[in-house]
């Protein structure tokens, strides 16, 4: 069980590391498009290696529909990554990283709309909290810009 906890800690460090590396990219003047491209390229190589080593049969028999499905959503991830790094120039990592993580509510909304998943009280509470959080972050940034003149 200790190994599982260590893996969870590694996940925690990696997840936090991503946010900090985004900020370092902004601090050292790296180009948003270049960062996004090399991040995607590295992740492509790692995911390909992993699949080739551990699930080689699945990649050989992948149906064309699965490949086609990956195209628009992969492009969407690329746009999200690129524009996040671009927007970071104008704001703080503390609030930007939270905002981008709140987007995990979007697939839940889409699942309710397209797959008729039930909208229970807990999900409604989450959506209200996400909206309230976004409004507060927007208000805070607007106030800061007003103070900076």
């Amino acid at each position: 069980m200790l190994a599982a906890y260590l893996l969870m800690a590694a996940g925690l460090v990696s997840f936090a590391g991503m946010g900090i590396v985004h900020k370092l990219g902004d601090r050292y003047g790296a180009q948003p498009l270049g960062i996004a491209l090399f991040a995607m390229l590295t992740a492509s190589a790692v995911s390909f290696l992993y699949t080739a080593l551990f699930q080689s049969a699945a990649i050989r028999t992948i149906p064309p529909r699965v490949m086609l499905l990956a195209v628009p959503f992969g492009a969407s991830a690329a746009i999200g990554l690129w524009l996040f790094q671009r927007g970071l120039r104008y704001g703080h990592i503390a609030t930007s990283w939270l905002l981008i993580n709140l987007s995990s509510g979007i697939p839940t909304v889409l699942s309710i709309l397209f797959y008729r998943e039930p909208l229970n009280l807990k999900k409604m509470l989450v959506f209200l909290l996400v909206i309230a959080s976004l409004l507060l972050l927007w208000w805070d940034r607007r106030k800061q810009l007003g103070e900076e003149g």
């Binding site: 599982a4 893996l7 969870m8 996940g11 925690l12 997840f15 936090a16 991503m18 946010g19 590396v21 370092l24 990219g25 498009l33 270049g34 960062i35 491209l37 090399f38 590295t42 992740a43 492509s44 995911s47 551990f54 699945a58 990649i59 992948i62 490949m67 990956a70 195209v71 628009p72 959503f73 992969g74 492009a75 969407s76 991830a77 746009i79 999200g80 990554l81 524009l83 996040f84 703080h92 990592i93 503390a94 930007s96 905002l99 981008i100 993580n101 987007s103 995990s104 509510g105 979007i106 697939p107 889409l110 807990k122 999900k123 909290l129 309230a132 959080s133 805070d140 940034r141 106030k143």
Partner: protein, 139 residues
């Protein structure tokens, strides 16, 4: 300007994981998730490569180092998460700890290391946001 860029990124970043839900709906998630992710990353790479060539930007060392670092943290994080779950830790512990804990570390780094100033509304927004992510990850 910040909020506009972030909201567009918010939309695309949220949309990009919905493909996995479609894959699950087709009954192919257990068999093809890792192969799907290979093509998912590849499609993103090709899209960005086209934009990069069109922009005629010169490649800087910082782009490569930061980009590769992000890619490694992303892949390492996903793998660690998956292996922790596979070794018996329940999702109700793993997801809130990794997602909310990671968020808390980044917020703390922003304030302590990068000296970012956050107002009362921002702090309240962060607390509500972390709470919503904890609740969302517990579903």
């Amino acid at each position: 300007m910040w909020f506009r860029w972030m909201m567009i990124a918010f939309f695309f970043n949220g949309l990009c994981t919905f493909g996995l839900r479609i894959l699950a709906g087709l009954g192919w998630a257990s068999q093809y998730t890792s192969s799907y992710l290979v093509f998912w990353y590849l499609a993103g790479t090709l899209f960005l490569l086209v934009q990069y060539v069109r922009s005629r930007e010169k490649t800087r060392r910082s782009d490569v180092v930061i980009g590769c670092g992000l890619g490694l943290f992303s892949a390492g994080g996903q793998t660690s998460l998956g292996l922790a779950l596979a070794r018996g830790l329940p999702g109700s512990i793993v997801f809130p700890v990794v997602l909310a804990g990671g968020l808390f570390i980044v917020v703390a780094a922003g304030v302590v290391i990068f000296k970012e100033r956050i107002g009362t509304a921002g702090i309240l927004g962060i607390l509500l946001g972390i709470l919503s992510i904890v609740l969302l990850s517990l579903q």
